[in-house]
Subunit: 482 residues, 2 copies
């Protein structure tokens, strides 16, 4: 008999027919009640075993983690906590799980322990919920852009460019790294002998390639892995993470902010609508976790309240210049509570300043824009009519409570001459980016885009505290297990 | 005035109102008719310029590739070839394009020339169509699996495992490769000093990690980049390509075949429904291309006929053993026309044999299954009750006309002891795959999955002949430009 998914059985409006279910035992109480989970939902289905007519041998093998197949009658449940249950007539052990050895015991495990067992943690309620939410968010990303007529573009992962400057890169090679690689006459590595005939790295961003496609297809987005070889052992950084990068021809910075805000709200709403049960569980988990914190450090809102708040309120749009004024006048700045005191216009904002603006001052998501040119990337559009020494670019960062920067974007410099001059000043090789400059040589136009770190979004939506807990197998310094 | 997309203007049922459009000039005829394209569709909108009242200066700048903004009245067209046109009242040049220098001239370019200009080729009709089709196919992949309750899993790109054995791997490192990397006492590279504290590579498959998730969430799929450091300069191989890998708990090989066939048909049907105009263009392109071939080498079916044929017919399921019998008896085998003559059971099938089966013998997609164990991977389920020396595994490959292998999959070996024995025999390190073996230690069950090379699917659906033409920026030996 073909088996049914647990989610379908739990949602079934018909009862008293024979069903088969397959899944993993979460708990087995009183030699009678199996809580069976198959990953289709956070909820288990209760399977009632006729223990008097089941061999002891079999009962002993119904342990946490065991894979089983049950057949029986789907019936209204007499117990509390579930509408329906399976009154088991036939039970088969598909795969045993040694109760002593199975690491995912039915008790609370530390997140650190679970990270060390990333291949099994997804069998827990919390990680099952996180990974279902992640999957739903990812689909919402695609659906949003496709509905709006954007085209999905797979920009390259291995790149010969290192000009983008978004961060330290990993090298990719098929040469031996023990010193035996072929050399040029001057003693340097002969990269003509490497697989791609040149030195190559893992991409830090698909933006530059994405721009070339936006200047042909109009509206595009990427959604793929990106990499940073930075030794940042923080709860917000990964060496390998997924990024979403839309790019739109003819969009200016205001259009770009509109797009980013609309996009974020859409994917959160979609996920709140689809993943209610998982989010309710994660909300309760967070409340429980926060009980161990001092009152002052606890969230003012529950997880679902926080998500609703983002959906129901406009993101506050604040220029960098306004933000500096606010920060200069702020109590932590005056009382020198900030590690980096804000004295003057031009200062780069640190995480502490961003958090102050978002969490204390505005108490909502904030879009900061028009940053000083000298602290931002070469490809950003220089604003017209700024004072000398106070040049700004049409950049924008979206800051989220508890997360910090979730989006970084800009209107791009569309003027060939201005772009080339900027590249020269920064020592960026024009030869290497000949193809990028072609977009400004042939039919250039205003265009804008942004990058959103997908794991930061998942972090926000799930209410988790560490980015290593929202990606299946995190890659961080000294860790590439699995 | 907010501009409209060309696709919306062309589909507009209302006329005689003022509209604005932005895009790139494809052609400019008689100083009067601009064919304007914005990438939203393969079709251009005709913009009729009032040349008598437009300065010569401006008219000269309306060149192929220039970005322009036109405002005017959307009106029924008097010319043939389009229902509506814009009668331009205002025209602005957004970005010039030097007619002498713009590489994408309105004429036929060789595919090789276009590959060298991968950043601009998407501004041609053919590559615009290919990339829109690719995007639609990608979305169909997500929609299919999400509708069926599969969860999207991002398996790691950087991996510490090299046991999967699907092919040569690229090394990823943050160590210097010039011989100055830190050493152990025995002279070997001290990988503890590398970023991840161990030697790491780019993944060749997310299957093993995917299996761990399937054994928790039930039904999962991956869709991400995978890599092969193989020096294969063919029209069917890329060093970096995107792969889709579903994995389903409790599915056996027959379920796996059903899933693969249903999936492929769904995504092709979705794309045929959504991308009719692009596919019609690609069909005509293919017919044109084939005119230069001898009659015998031309396709019997047009592109859309070929796609319909796949949708309307069952894939032929043939065991390896049957296939060998067919091949042994075949004319090219008897006449020694095959490069590799099939003499006996156990031979690995070459591309020439696969093509014979698909294109000459069955003339439809073929699923070959139950391959000899010794020519397949360690994780495949050994069939019960086979003759000694004739052990087979529950593997399946889907072969497509013109493409060859498009899917490779199997039921996985779920029995711990059998799996460990197989690994030992093949010298695969159990220690390294401890986490993979855990899926068989704790609650193991029958499960199956497959991998589909996304670019091969795009190749089939677009009718293109070279895999480098269906990915934005191909990575192949000696080529990582852009």
């Amino acid at each position: 008999m073909k088996h049914s998914k647990v989610i379908d059985l739990l949602n079934s409006t018909k009862t008293l027919h024979e069903v088969t279910a397959k899944g993993w035992v979460r708990t087995f109480r009183n030699n009678q009640f199996i809580a069976l989970n198959d990953g289709s939902t956070i909820h288990n289905i209760q399977c009632v075993v006729d223990f008097e007519n089941t061999p002891d041998e079999t009962l002993k093998r119904i342990t946490t983690g065991a894979a089983i197949c049950v057949t029986g009658t789907l019936a209204e449940s007499r117990g509390a906590g579930q509408k329906v249950e399976i009154q088991v007539t036939k039970l088969e052990i598909l795969g045993d799980s040694d109760a002593e050895k199975f690491p995912m015991q039915p008790k609370k495990h530390s997140l650190e322990f679970l990270r060390e067992n990333a291949h099994l943690r997804v069998r827990t309620n919390a990680f099952g919920a996180i990974m279902r939410v992640r999957s739903t968010l990812a689909f919402a990303v695609h659906q949003y852009f496709q509905e709006k007529g954007f085209f999905y573009v797979n920009t390259p992962i291995i790149t010969g460019s290192d000009a983008e400057g978004a961060g330290e890169m990993f090298q990719v090679t098929s040469l031996p790294i023990d010193g035996s690689a072929p050399r040029n006459e001057d003693g340097s590595i002969n990269y003509k002998e490497d697989f791609f005939g040149k030195q190559t790295n893992l991409t830090v961003s698909g933006q530059l390639e994405g721009e070339t496609f936006a200047m042909a297809l109009g509206q595009i987005y990427t959604f793929g892995p990106t990499f940073r070889a930075e030794n940042s052992n923080t709860s917000r950084h990964l060496a390998e993470f997924w990024m979403i990068e839309p790019e739109v021809a003819f969009n200016d910075l205001a259009d770009n902010m509109d797009l980013a805000e609309d996009f974020i709200k859409y994917v959160i709403k979609y996920t709140v609508d689809k993943c209610g049960d998982d989010l309710k569980f994660l909300e309760a988990r967070l409340l429980e976790e926060e009980k161990s914190k001092p009152q002052a450090d606890r969230s003012e809102m529950t997880l679902l309240e926080k998500l609703s708040f983002v959906l129901d309120n406009n993101f506050k749009r604040v220029s960098y210049t306004e933000a500096i004024d606010i920060l200069k006048d702020s109590t932590p700045n005056k009382k020198k509570k900030f590690q980096y005191i804000i004295n003057e216009w031009g200062a780069d904002l640190q995480s502490e300043h961003e958090r102050f603006l978002v969490e204390k001052h505005f108490k909502c998501p904030v879009i900061l824009f028009d940053y000083p040119a000298k602290i931002k990337a070469f490809y950003m559009r220089l604003n017209d009519n700024t004072e000398p020494g106070k040049e700004t670019v049409r950049a924008m960062d979206i800051l989220f409570p508890g997360i910090g920067e979730i989006v970084g974007g800009s209107q791009r410099e569309e003027r060939y001459d201005v772009l080339v001059e900027k590249m020269k000043a920064l020592g960026i090789d024009e030869e290497e980016l000949w193809w990028y400059l072609d977009t400004r040589r042939f039919g250039s136009a205003v265009h804008s885009g942004f990058g959103l770190g997908f794991e930061r979004l998942v972090l926000f939506v799930t209410g988790m505290g560490n980015i290593r807990d929202v990606i299946p197998f995190p890659r961080t310094p000294q860790n590439a297990e699995f």
